[in-house]
């Protein structure tokens, strides 16, 4: 990954706090998850599908003697499924542990709170519910994810399943988001 701007130049500003984020890729979009919520990264996993589960459930993986439910970020964002193994971030939220299925996990980046911007109002409703905001990097954006919002217990299946009509709408709405990335 290229040397994405980290914002050290803003260190002198008193209000700046630095956050370490684990960068995650989904297609070409860059996401970030605060590393303090990450228990472990499991690479090359093939989750066992669960028939009749809500669409956002990516399946089950065996993790340290327990069976872990995973959430597929692709399904959450209504992207087409990807063949082949994916990486799993094992996240801790107040409801317990769960796995987040992503295409690939990258390096840890340190970002400054000064580069943070909340979700823009033009973002579609579903994404507004999932994203916390974004960090402005030198040449790209990093969308910040919050494990609390992605916890399968809290995800609302009704909102995410969506009707056919909703899905068509999000299809058209994805344009700006993709450009933003």
């Amino acid at each position: 990954m290229s040397n994405i701007g980290v914002g050290f130049n803003r260190k002198e500003k008193a209000a700046a706090t630095l956050v370490e984020m684990c960068s995650v890729r989904l297609g070409t979009t860059l996401f970030g998850v605060p590393i303090k919520h990450i228990l472990e990264i499991v690479g090359g996993a093939r989750p066992q599908p669960v028939p009749l589960a809500p669409r956002f459930v990516g399946g089950l993986v065996h993790y340290r003697g327990d069976v872990l439910t995973t959430v597929s970020l692709r399904q959450l964002l209504d992207l087409p499924p990807r063949d082949g193994p994916q990486d799993i971030l094992v996240l801790e939220s107040s409801g317990g542990c769960f796995g987040l299925l992503v295409d690939s996990v990258g390096e840890v980046l340190t970002v400054s709170s000064l580069d943070y911007e909340p979700n823009p109002s033009i973002l579609d409703e579903r994404r507004r519910a999932l994203f916390v905001g974004a960090y402005k990097l030198k040449d790209s954006l990093m969308i910040m994810l919050d494990p609390e919002r992605l916890d399968p217990v809290r995800l609302d299946p009704v909102l995410l399943e969506g009707t056919q009509h909703d899905r068509a709408q999000t299809e058209t709405m994805r344009g700006p988001a993709a450009q933003a990335a």
Partner: protein
């Protein structure tokens, strides 16, 4: 208020002390003179009192103190442990418990008032001569200081001489010499020292060899061991070809197995943990109901997983209450019936294979079957016509229906109609079963059959939608294979409802793939290998159609997250031996989801099933076979397996037909001429493809085969008697109301090698076959 470490420790310790006290108290009723028991109880209360003083729980201290006084007198023999005394002590225990509870929940002792209880305890302290109530009042006022007057009673309390000698013998000896009144703190410190010493003596060894462990830690350990087992499996596979690592991996294998067993064992607790609560319940109930009951307990050392033990506590208590309220009659009724006025309630725990059976039996009135019939009709649970046909055993099963109660009046003990169905539901929830057996006038026995552990269950691994699923074997009754070429005819459709004729009766089918993938394309889906798993879930019978079967496995149940639990089809997940994940199917929910309900016909059918099942417990079961148009019976206990073999595999030693099973020679009995018929025209093109059925049975030390045309059913046999002589008829039994001959396995002549009944049997006969050829 958050509890500090010390308080929590105190709570746990005090609870244990009270548990011990409870056990001792109920025993004390039997043996009021047992000094050891009184000593034990005294120490329990004393420890609580000592520690409370230290922690500053005044109310608790005061109450414990009052109890200690009484117990001290008991210990010295000044007061005898009669019934009112024990009752008082039990009340003391309840009082202490409720304060402890309040400390645990709220962090404070609560504002309850214990004066009545304390007064009561003080009145009990009166030895032989009755205490003046004035004195009692005085004592109460002086309470905190009272027992600590270890150096003798103060002269200004005239009653003290009878009351205070709680302190051991030395104090009594010193009694005539009035000493100064010690302050409570100091004295209680002294007393605590003494109590602590005594406790160390009695429990020292136990405390050194045991350790308190958090259950969540044990669960975590269990999980990690499961993980280790899987890793071991992978290591074993990876190192299989490396001779250097074989020894190491072998050792890893053994250590892992031992570790797993030890952790499992750590979760086990003896049933005495719940049995020990019963004497108190029986005592209190029998007093309030006016019954005289003797409680017998057996097999208290039998062990069960802790979580299961918790789960059966309520059902068991309920069963005991029921026995006392409805089972055992009042003493006068018992006397009139010519019984011992004292009834007997037996609690028995015994391990049977992978189950623990807990029996609650009483020698009471039994269940009046006619009343069950009436009540069931009255409450609209069954129709009058149906009831008229039901026999005793079917009627007994009705008590498990929700809303059933035969009690003439609702008492505060039981009889509200929420009884046996709750017992059954709770026990079935943990994979157990409930059976009931009752004889009018003789008593009732309730049997709870509980699996040893919840964490590990036997399951059949099935395949569907290209995935593996685990099916708990508890619900599985049989498996039927429908090969692709038979699928079209064997699986019948009634307006979209798939059915299979299982021994002539409709069995509703549920296709697992259609259930799991409702939108999936299932074109010509029956034109493949189909396996029907016949399941029984909550009394509903249905067939689950899957694509394939794998071996049964002992699976470790892992909980699912709430999102997946909400789907309602899966009860958990597990990791299979090949490291693959499998979801555990819940037969009850599948039945519900697929709309399998109990039709009214099935209800009666189920009753009939239950009847044959329970009949089976009494009379032997037979395999009903057809041999050349005649029906015959083979004792089921002797049947090892049923083989379908090609006729060409039957060979002959002389004229004796035999079957060669991997070097094991099986004589085949063919009195019905089934073989002869099958071999009639061997020249026909299909002759070698013809199949015959051989029932392989055990007869003494040997195995014999019986050639049959069809296997029809399994049924319980009934006895037949010769008219006039009433002598039991041999060789025949009553099967499905038909007189049926029983195949005489002993009559199958031994093979020529019969005289050498050693383990070489198979090999030596092999030689004979060669010779015969």
């Amino acid at each position: 208020m958050a509890l500090d470490e010390l308080t929590r420790e105190f709570l746990i310790e005090s609870q244990e002390g009270l548990d011990r006290m409870e056990r001792c108290l109920t025993e004390l009723e039997e043996r009021p003179e047992d000094a050891g028991l009184i000593g034990d109880i005294f120490r329990s209360v004393h420890t609580i009192k000592g520690t409370t003083g230290f922690l500053g729980f005044k109310r608790l201290e005061k109450l414990a103190h009052a109890g200690e006084n009484l117990l001290g007198l008991l210990r010295e023999g000044k007061v005898t442990a009669d019934r009112p005394t024990t009752t008082g002590l039990l009340q003391l225990m309840d009082g202490l418990r409720s304060i402890l509870k309040s400390i645990e929940v709220e962090g404070t002792e609560g504002d309850g008032e214990d004066t009545v209880l304390i007064e009561c305890l003080e009145e009990l302290q009166a030895p032989v001569h009755v205490h003046a109530s004035a004195a009692a009042g005085l004592i109460q006022e002086q309470h905190p200081a009272m027992p600590e007057t270890a150096h003798g009673p103060s002269p200004e309390h005239p009653s003290v001489e009878q009351v205070s000698p709680t302190a051991p013998v030395a104090a009594v000896a010193a009694a005539p010499k009035p000493g100064p009144d010690k302050g409570p703190e100091k004295a209680s410190g002294d007393a605590e020292g003494e109590g602590a010493k005594a406790r160390v003596q009695s429990t020292g060894t136990a405390a050194e060899s045991t350790l308190r462990v958090d259950v969540t830690l044990l669960n975590r350990m269990m999980n990690l061991v499961g993980e280790l087992v899987l890793t071991r499996n992978q290591v074993l596979q990876a190192t299989a070809n490396d001779p250097n690592l074989t020894l190491l991996s072998r050792r890893l294998d053994m250590v892992t197995a031992d570790l797993r067993e030890s952790v499992m064992k750590a979760r086990m607790q003896p049933v005495s943990n719940i049995f020990s609560k019963m004497p108190r319940i029986v005592r209190d109930l029998s007093q309030s109901l006016g019954r005289k009951v003797r409680l017998q307990m057996e097999g208290q050392e039998t062990e069960l997983d802790k979580s299961l033990l918790e789960a059966i506590k309520d059902p068991l208590t309920h069963a005991v209450r029921n026995s006392l309220d409805h089972g055992i009659e009042p003493p006068d009724v018992r006397l009139a019936a010519g019984k011992d006025p004292e009834g007997t309630l037996r609690l028995r725990a015994v391990q049977e294979g992978s189950h623990v059976v807990i029996e609650v039996s009483d020698d009471g009135a039994g269940i009046a079957v006619e009343r069950v019939r009436q009540k069931a009709i009255e409450r609209g649970l069954i129709t009058a016509e149906k009831a008229a046909y039901m026999v005793e055993r079917e009627l007994l099963q009705l008590v498990f229906l929700p809303g059933f109660s035969t009690a003439a009046a609702v008492t505060n003990v039981s009889g509200r109609g929420v009884g046996m169905d709750v017992v059954r539901t709770n026990v079935e929830k943990i994979g157990g079963k409930v059976e009931i057996d009752s004889r009018t006038g003789k008593g009732t026995t309730l049997r709870l059959r509980i699996p040893l552990t919840l964490a590990i269950i036997p399951a059949l691994i099935v395949h569907s939608v290209k995935q593996s699923f685990a099916l708990p074997q508890g619900a599985l009754s049989e498996l039927v294979h429908v090969p692709p070429e038979q699928a079209a005819t064997a699986i019948e459709w009634m307006e979209g409802a798939p059915l299979y004729r299982l021994r002539g009766k409709f069995l509703p089918l549920v296709f697992l793939d259609r259930l799991l993938m409702p939108k999936g394309a299932h074109k010509g889906s029956t034109e493949k290998e189909n396996f029907i798993a016949v399941l029984n879930a909550d009394g509903r019978q249905f067939g689950l159609v899957v694509d394939g079967l794998a071996d049964p496995e002992e699976i470790v149940v892992k909980p699912l997250s709430a999102v997946l639990k909400n789907i309602g089809l899966y009860s958990g997940a597990t990791v299979l031996g090949n490291a693959e994940l499998a979801l555990i199917l819940d037969p009850g929910s599948i039945a519900l989801k697929a709309g399998v309900t109990m039709s009214s016909d099935e209800k009666t059918g189920r009753g009939a099933d239950a009847e044959t099942e329970s009949e089976a417990a009494k009379s032997p079961e037979y395999l009903l076979v057809e041999v050349a148009d005649r029906q015959a019976a083979v004792p089921l206990a002797d049947v090892l397996r049923i083989e379908q073999v090609k006729i060409s595999r039957i060979e002959y030693i002389g004229y004796r037909p035999v079957l060669n099973f991997e070097g094991q020679l099986l004589p085949v009995e063919d009195s019905g001429g089934v073989l002869a018929a099958a071999q009639a025209d061997l020249e026909a093109p299909d002759a070698s493809e013809r199949q015959i059925i051989v029932v392989v049975c055990r007869e003494g030390n040997r195995h014999v085969g019986i050639a049959v045309s069809h296997v029809l059913d399994v049924a319980a046999g009934g006895d037949l008697f010769e008219a006039g002589t009433k002598a039991r008829a041999g060789g025949v039994t009553l099967l499905k109301n038909r007189v049926t001959g029983v195949v005489d396995l002993g009559g199958v002549p031994p093979l020529p090698v019969g005289e050498s009944e050693n383990s070489e049997w198979g090999q030596s006969t092999n030689g004979m076959v060669e010779a015969a050829r």
